[in-house]
Symmetry: C2
Subunit: 420 residues, 2 copies
């Protein structure tokens, strides 16, 4: 435990979200309230890479207003990266470099804001600091739109994507319903979630609004005949239907729906995603006119329709991470513990990083209904509180006002370092 005053390092890791900056605001604002214990919060430029290359952003240069504005700014304000440190055995020099940089800049607190991989890195860094005798408290701040971290009821970033998907499917479905008499009858939306169907499940929420919807999960092997029969039945009953397909939806042999094996004139693999494949399948078998959309980054960046619950939790977890550090904790991650569904009540707990790293939480089977094409009431009870509430950014001239940081780097103190 750091009893003397020391600096902190904060880094964003992996795919960014609509609310990861809210966690950053939680970390920085809380640290600023404890100037006796925490000096400057340095943020890694482009995540952990910034620590390795000693590109440290001095967040002390940012005004209180700017840091507060992070709460309503999507994406990674300091830059993030997809950079997984190898195992300690294979690349010990990178871990040692981190400790060197931390030592050079008087950093005693390491806040790592990411998913499962970064929880693992965070854990390893904490272990190494112990074995090297350098006092460092490593706290992981959970973040992933995939909602696949264990030991926390949900993950910041997910609630906002879920809200975006539910709202988008509702709106597009009303559109299709309007046009179905003479035009489009089936609308297909492709959403993220390579391994876990949490995001796709959010599309299933519109069923309670009377919208006929088929959800294709990565957890359920795709069965073309049963899928087409389901679409056929829904279109016969309602005149139209929507399909929400996870990018991770796959055939029994493990190949993704998006992999059609087709090539263009230059030998490139087919460019489209799962949505056009599913749409064409419906057209060929049932003859319905279709439209399809691929939300891609739009879904995870959509701060304009963020869930208020999600924003609140993202901030609270950043805040709690600092408090845990000040309480002397190490190698832990603050978590969301659900107390009740309705009214929704939650509190913050914590989990040892050892148990978080590299465990992936997919949808429990009891959240997917019997036919595999929709969600159960239990799933609905789980999801609804997570999309509850709106937390709109400010607007000027028709566009959201998102924070722009100075992102000023502190002077280097060490020789340069080549990334592996």
């Amino acid at each position: 435990m750091n009893t003397a005053r020391s600096n902190a390092f904060y880094a964003q890791s992996g795919g960014v979200t609509a609310v990861i900056n809210a966690s950053a605001a939680g970390v920085i604002e809380t640290a600023r309230r404890h100037p006796d214990r925490i000096g400057t919060v340095y943020a890694g430029k482009n995540g952990i890479i910034g620590a390795l290359t000693e590109e440290l952003i001095d967040t002390g240069e940012e005004s209180a207003d700017t840091i507060a504005a992070l709460r309503s700014t999507p994406a990674g304000a300091f830059g993030s990266c997809r950079y997984k440190l190898k195992s300690l055995e294979k690349n010990r020099r990178e871990y040692e470099r981190l400790i060197e940089v931390f030592k050079a800049h008087g950093i005693g607190y390491f806040f790592y804001n990411g998913g499962g991989d970064s929880a693992d890195t965070c854990f390893k860094v904490s272990q190494l600091s112990q074995s090297l005798g350098y006092p460092l408290q490593a706290i992981h701040v959970p973040k992933t739109i995939d909602n696949d971290l264990p030991l926390t009821d949900c993950c910041p970033g997910f609630g906002s994507v879920a809200k975006y998907v539910a709202v988008s499917v509702l709106e597009a479905s009303l559109d299709v319903r309007s046009m179905a008499a003479t035009s489009t009858r089936v609308f297909v939306l492709e959403v993220m979630g390579r391994h876990a169907g949490w995001i796709a499940a959010a599309g299933g929420l519109v069923e309670s609004q009377g919208i006929p919807v088929v959800v294709l999960f990565p957890e359920i092997e795709f069965d073309k005949d049963r899928f087409l029969a389901r679409v056929d039945a829904l279109v016969k009953q309602h005149g139209y239907c929507s399909v929400v397909v996870s990018e991770g939806c796959h055939h029994p042999d493990g190949s993704f729906l998006a992999e059609q094996g087709t090539r263009d004139a230059f030998g490139h693999a087919q460019l489209g995603g799962a949505a056009p494949v599913v749409a064409q399948m419906v057209k060929d078998a049932l003859g319905h006119k279709f439209h399809w959309a691929v939300a891609d980054y739009l879904q995870r960046a959509a701060r304009h329709i963020a869930s208020a619950t999600d924003v609140q939790q993202a901030y609270a977890l950043g805040q709690r991470a600092v408090e845990l550090a000040l309480e002397g904790r190490n190698a832990v991650m603050p978590t969301i513990e659900r107390i009740s569904d309705a009214p929704y009540r939650w509190r913050i707990g914590s989990a040892p990083l050892e148990q978080v790293a590299n465990v992936e939480k997919t949808m429990p089977r009891e959240f997917i209904n019997a036919d595999g094409f929709g969600i159960t009431d239990a799933c609905r009870r789980y999801l609804l509180p997570l999309i509850e509430g709106e937390d709109y950014p400010g607007y000027q001239g028709g566009l959201p006002v998102y924070a722009t940081l100075r992102n000023q780097l502190v002077a280097r103190k060490l020789p340069s370092f080549e990334l592996a």
Copy 2:
């Protein structure tokens, strides 16, 4: 001019929008304020088809609250259709059927809410009613996300799509900027607009937020080498860039970018749109990792991020249509006349339908910058007021509350009719 009290017919036509129901609210609420002149407003079930098949929705059965809620409900609440009446010469019986149905139900006002094709139909109906000696006032209420109607400064539906596109490109671009050090460097968003680049132009608005963006318009023939050079320059300068490609972007020979001529194993044409084609082109030539999205219906149904200006104008045009009818006008369309850009001031004018029908307004060349990949200041001045202001729907349980109508049909009085 109808001096006695008569009923009105209202129909939604073509692709629906986030605000066409606001026009419906404007028509119905205004009609209800004139019970001495206007009896019941009947809405066509699925647009003009409902008039032909005598499926008339009695909007008098809907409460004042429900009609008011239409203002914040996307898509077509009564159903729309893609059904173009043939020329009078080729299919006179359909026009005559319309008059018969109108006569049978005491309809003296015809409000048609659509784009260029429906303006043409509306005009023909007004002409026929004159030649048949049946007093009918036909007023067209403009609507099209494509913003391609002449004689009006803008078209309801467009401002909201423009806002959706500008906000989405801004958010996704911040995402890419966060990730560009190690991952995605180019993000491509495909937007609607087969013939006119108005929607794509809205993506160009984010340039003033410091976002490097390339816009591909249908008005500018695609030049692969120049496009790649532009992307290359932007990525070298900024580390990343976004591309907004109109679905109507095409090669000099007229073929769309989306038409790759590739076939899958079953001989189907390539399924993807323009976005994956453009993204792959960048990857092949410049090696950048990419992501792409296709917004499709999400963009035109996105009532959750509608432009307040757009909602206000959509309502006002519906309202004015009824007032024009009460003033004895026929074969006209209320229009938006811009008085000034900043502060934005506008008023409602009107245009004769004869001049509206079948004229398509594409982007003026002076709205596209010299290199053809972005918008000019003049375009920015034109667009900004149209995305100004937020007009959020109400929410319950995390989802927008959109109106659900009873849509009760009135009893038929005529023999059934077979559509052509």
